[in-house]
Each structure stands twice: as C-alpha cells, then as structure tokens.
C-alpha cells in the first residue's frame, strides 16, 4: 500500500492537475503551485546528489580503495566551492542594500565562488567539450565509409555544411554568380537551402515523433500503466 499504491496515486494526481490546469483557466493557479513544488524538489535533489557524492568519496577514502587520493581531491573541491557559495564568503556587497551582507553577489568574479566558476569550472567544462572535436573527427574518419546511397548523403551533407559555413565556400564556389541560374550550386547557398528545407523537414518529423512518444510515455505514467520507477526499493 505505502510502497506501491500511494506513489501511483501521487503520480496520477500530480500529472492530472498539470494537464487539467492547462485546459481550464480556473485551475491555472494549481499548475503554478505544483510546478513551484517540483522546482523546490529539484533543488533538494541537488542536495541529495551532493550528499551522495560526499558519502561515496568518504567511503572510498576511509577504505583506502584504489584512486582514493582523487576522491580526496573531489571532496576538497566540493567542500571548498560549497562553502564559498552557500556561506557567500567574500561576496560583493549589494549596491542597493549594502547593510545586508547576505544579499551580496556571490556569483561575481570578484567573489571566491564566482572566481572558482570563472577560472576553474568554466575552463574545465569548455575544454572537456572542446576535446570532443578531436574524438568526433577521429570517429568520423574511422566510421564513415561512402558505401551506399544513405552514407553518401550523410557524408556529402556534412561536407557541404562544414564547407558552406566557412571561408572555404567563397574559395571553392565564390566564382559562381550570385544572381545566375546556377547560384544554388554555391556552397554557402547550398548549405542554407539544406538547412532551411531538407534538414528542417527531417528535424520536424523527428520532433513530432518525439512529441508523440513523450505524450504516450507521460500518459502511461499518469495512468499507472508504467510502474518501472517503483521497483527501486
């Protein structure tokens, strides 16, 4: 009862309220309240995630498992950043309310928390994503083989988009007159037309398919047909 029926009931009611709130103007406020609750719970989930990270790393350090020194680094980085942010250490005073220290701006680059974002988190995440350029190129070089019409279309489009949006387009096809009958063969024009019509058509169909899939999954959850989330305990 408490482990299965009540959660199913909560899921159904919460989902139904939001759907009804959309269609009925009289219940719009309910939807706002429930969304507000969900946002609050999402923030609590971050605390849960932080607590979990703390436990996992402390356990790794205490049992001196392989790589415990890295767990210690993670823990130190976590605790320091959290202290800077939650305690607003060194926050820049709020110009409108300088007498209220806790109203200060902790995200400014002049505050330790903002400094950590600017000089640690931002370069690390940006470089992580930047490094994917090498791996994407390497994977493409290994995997892409123009052996059938589908593969040729994929490869050809990728090349046209890559060339059409760089200076290479002007170098290779810049000589074709813009107003002439063959203007559509210019790489920059070709890239724009592919994006505007062909790629848009594919993307639209994919989005419509995803929307239908999500709507069906949502209904399965709200109606209690999909109960996979209940088996975690």
């Amino acid at each position: 009862m408490l482990k299965r029926t009540v959660p199913l009931f909560i899921t159904g009611i919460a989902g139904a309220i939001l759907i009804v709130a959309y269609f009925s103007p009289a219940t719009t406020n309910w939807g706002e309240v429930v969304t507000d609750w969900m946002n609050t719970l999402a923030a609590v989930a971050f605390i849960l995630g932080g607590g979990n990270l703390l436990f996992v790393n402390l356990e790794k350090i205490s049992s001196k498992r392989p790589g415990w020194a890295y767990a210690l680094v993670t823990l130190l980085a976590f605790v320091l950043t959290l202290a800077f942010g939650v305690l607003k250490i060194g926050a820049v005073p709020n110009a409108q309310f300088p007498a209220t220290p806790w109203a200060g701006d902790y995200e400014s680059v002049r505050a330790p928390f903002g400094w950590v974002y600017e000089y640690v988190l931002s370069p690390l995440t940006a470089t992580m994503f930047a490094m994917l350029a090498f791996y994407v190129a390497s994977a493409a070089f290994r995997a892409f083989r123009a052996k059938n019409i589908e593969a040729i279309l994929l490869l050809g489009t990728a090349f046209v988009i890559l060339l059409g949006r760089t200076a290479a387009a002007a170098i290779l096809t810049g000589w074709i007159p813009v107003d002439g009958p063959f203007a559509f063969l210019r790489l920059d024009t070709l890239a724009v037309n592919i994006m505007q019509y062909v790629s848009t058509a594919g993307t639209r169909a994919i989005m419509m398919g995803i929307a239908l899939g999500i709507a069906a999954t949502s209904l399965r959850l709200i109606l209690g047909i999909d109960r996979s989330y209940l088996v975690s305990d």
């Binding site: 482990k3 959660p7 139904a16 939001l18 759907i19 959309y22 507000d36 609750w37 969900m38 719970l41 923030a43 609590v44 971050f46 605390i47 995630g49 979990n52 680094v73 823990l75 980085a77 605790v79 950043t81 942010g85 939650v86 309310f97 300088p98 007498a99 209220t100 109203a103 600017e118 640690v120 690390l124 995440t125 470089t127 994503f129 930047a130 490094m131 994917l132 350029a133 090498f134 994407v136 589908e150 279309l153 050809g156 489009t157 990728a158 046209v160 988009i161 949006r165 019509y197 058509a201 594919g202 639209r204 169909a205 398919g209 929307a211 999500i214 709507a215 959850l221 989330y229 305990d233």
Partner: protein, 425 residues
C-alpha cells in the same frame, strides 16, 4: 624381431614429426597474422600491448617480437614528439615571462572606494498623491543627494567598501606610468589565469593518454560542478521558493531585502510551502539505509509532475506547432508573383516531413501495391533523415571546433599574450 620393431617405431615417429612440421607451417602463419591484428588494435587504442600467442608457436613469437619492436618504436616516436612539444612550450613560456617587455597572463584592476549613505528619497514628480518617501541606500555622490531630492539620514552611519573592476593591460600600464595608484596588478585574477591554463592543458593531456594530471583535473571538475549546482539550487530556488514562504520576515532581513511581503497571503503560502518541505525531507531519506523506500513518494511526485508538464509542452510546442508550420502554401506568391524557389522549398519540406513520418509510423510489410508505395516513400524518408543527420553532424563538428578555437584563443591570448587582435595588451 625386437630390432625390427624398434626400426618400425622409429620410422613412425619420424613420419609423424614430418607430418606435424608440414601441418605446423600454415597454422603458425595463421597464429602470426592473428597476433599481428591483435597487436595492431592494441597500438591503435593506445593501450599497453600484451601480446598473446599460442603456446609453442615459434612463428608467432617471431611475429610478436617484430610487432613488439614496432610498437616500442612508435611509442618512442610519440614520446619524442611530446617531449619536443613540451620543450617548445617551456621555452615559449620562459621567453614570454622573462624576455618580452610586457610579460604575460597579467590581469589589472582598478580599485575605488565607494561610500553609501542611507537617505530618504522623495517620491518622483507626477507620482500618485498617496505615495510616501522611501528610505534607500545611495552612493554618496548620487545626483539625488546633490540636487536635494534625497536627504541623507545622519543617524545611520555610512558604509564604505572597495569596488573593483577589470581594466585592459595596455590602459593599465599607461595609467600606472602616469602615476595612477588606483590601478594595480590583481594577484588573485592573474593566479586565476594560470590555474585556468593549467586545467585547460590538464584536460588536453588526455589526448596523449589517461594520466594523473588529467585525473586530478577530472576530480576537481566533479567536485566543483556538484557544489556549483547545489549552491545555485540553494540560493535561487530553496531560499526564495521555500524558506521565504516559511519565514518571510526572517528571510527578508537576512538575505532578500527587496522581497515584498503580502500579509494576506502569508498563511496560505506557509501551508503550501509545507508540502515541498515534507517531500524534500522524504527525498533526503534516500541517503538513509533503512528508510529509503519513503523517497519513492517525492520521486513519484517528480515523475507525475514532469509527465504532466512534458505532455502539455510537447503536444503544444512540438507536435502542433511543427505540424502547423509545415502546412504552408505549396504555390508561394509574393505581391501576386510566383516565387519559384519558395514554392519548391515548401514542396520539399512538406514531402520530407510526410515521408519521414511514413518511415516512422507506417511500419507495414512492403508487399502489394500499397506496401510497395509505403516502402518507396519510407526510403525517401530515410534519405531525408540521412541529410538531417549529416547536417547535425556538420554543425556539431563546427560547434566543437569553435569551442576548441576559444580554448586555444585563451591559451595564446589571455595566458601567453602571443595573439592580441584587439590590441589591448
């Protein structure tokens, strides 16, 4: 008799050995090629090469040795390349730091002392007659204080703090040369640039292979990232959405002085805020070894709310909006004139959407007249999808390369000061 028997046995043994030797050759060559391919794949994946060969296979051992030598040679070459790169980098750093007149990686700031006073500000001209004067904190040099629209409260002491703002190195040097003492080198920010450069290089070092420096940077990223999002969740959601509703007066005086409290709504807000508070505590019970099942309730709430929100959002924002945008006139006219390009484009677009949807949803057997037609349309749908994926791939590669160029720009610009397109250093 026994001598004859011995000779016969010896002959059989020799024959068997010859037969084994004859058959052994191709087996060994196969083993060798197998080993070769394994070693190749090891070399390619940058993993440590541990060559396995069938026991007693002399040919495999030869192949193993040859490939092992080749592998070692490749590793040496790679190490040499990295050594050269590191040396070049080190020389470049030393040159930048010691020889170049302006140095590198310096961040300058301008500091100024700001004084704030509490003042009673008169309502603006044209304000409703009932509007009262407001008490605000203003900079001591504010225009309202000078022209008399605001009067400083002498009972409340003023507050002083130092404001800091970044300044371009070239301007900073000029002002410092002219004797401006407010412009100083920011040790904290300069250190920040060095730390950012270290972390950038540490992450890039993974391109060589997994190493302790990369692992260190990765561990820092995990810790900082978790704390960052937790802090944002706390200050931007929990404090205003939960704590401010449970204890509005306390939160207003503590951290949200701009908050407007409506006394008529206070009790309702308090009761409504109890629900996420209780659900939040239940969610945190997941960390408890015994009461973990209680967290299924808030989880069910999150799932139900997400399902309700997504159901409406995707039906409205994606399904309906995309379908509505697709239904465009197939014969496009502009001021009565036929637009050939737009017309062809709209036809291509509509046919593309329909063919891809046919591929997605009409999964019938491609037999008979209808089945064959559906099959052909689906095939065109696949072509559309391939073009879409190709475009998405191209854009993804471009996005990643842009990010890469930004990181290189940081390294060569902000850190090493080798490039300076805006002429600010």
């Amino acid at each position: 008799m026994s001598a004859l028997k011995f000779q016969h046995q010896a002959q059989r043994t020799r024959n068997a050995e010859e037969e084994r030797a004859r058959r052994g050759s191709p087996v060994d060559s196969q083993a060798e090629s197998r080993v070769e391919s394994r070693v190749e794949s090891h070399v390619e994946s940058h993993a440590e090469s541990r060559i396995g060969s069938p026991a007693g296979s002399r040919g495999a051992s030869r192949g193993q040795m040859r490939l092992s030598t080749r592998h070692t040679r490749m590793r040496r070459a790679r190490t040499t390349v990295w050594l050269i790169l590191f040396l070049a980098g080190g020389i470049g750093l030393a040159y930048n730091a010691l020889v170049r007149p302006n140095g590198m990686a310096q961040v300058y700031v301008e500091r100024g002392e700001k004084v704030y006073v509490e003042a009673v500000v008169a309502p603006p001209l044209g304000a409703p007659s009932g509007e009262k004067a407001a008490t605000k904190w203003l900079p001591s040099d504010d225009a309202a204080l000078i022209d008399g629209r605001a009067v400083a409260n002498s009972a409340q002491p003023s507050i002083k703090f130092t404001e800091t703002r970044g300044i371009a190195p070239r301007i900073a040097r000029e002002r410092r040369t002219a004797g401006d003492t407010n412009v100083t080198l920011s040790i904290v920010d300069t250190l920040g640039v060095w730390i950012a450069a270290f972390f950038t290089l540490a992450i890039f070092s993974f391109l060589w292979r997994d190493n302790p420096v990369y692992k260190f940077a990765e561990s820092v990223l995990v810790g900082v990232s978790a704390a960052y999002w937790m802090t944002l969740g706390y200050w931007s959601t929990l404090v205003p959405n939960l704590f401010a509703k449970l204890a509005p007066e306390a939160i207003k005086s503590w951290s949200m002085p701009a908050m407007i409290i409506d006394p008529s709504e206070q009790t309702t807000q308090f009761i409504l805020a109890l629900v996420p508070l209780i659900l939040g505590f239940m969610l945190l019970m997941r960390l408890s070894p015994k009461g973990g099942w209680i967290s299924v309730w808030p989880l069910a709430f999150i799932i139900g709310t997400t399902a309700g929100l997504k159901f409406v959002a995707f039906i409205e924002g994606d399904l309906m909006a995309q379908a509505s945008n697709t239904i465009a006139p197939l014969v496009a006219l502009k001021e009565g004139q036929l637009q050939v390009g737009d017309s062809i484009g709209n036809v291509v677009l509509l046919f593309g959407v329909l063919s891809v949807l046919t591929y997605f949803f009409f999964s019938i057997e491609h037999k008979g007249r209808l089945g064959t037609m559906v099959g052909k349309v689906s095939r065109v749908g696949i072509w559309y999808l391939m073009i879409t994926f190709g475009a998405a791939f191209g854009l993804t590669v471009m996005g990643r390369i842009t990010l890469l160029s930004q990181r290189l720009e940081f390294l060569f610009g902000d850190w090493l000061w080798i490039i300076d397109p805006a002429n600010i250093r």
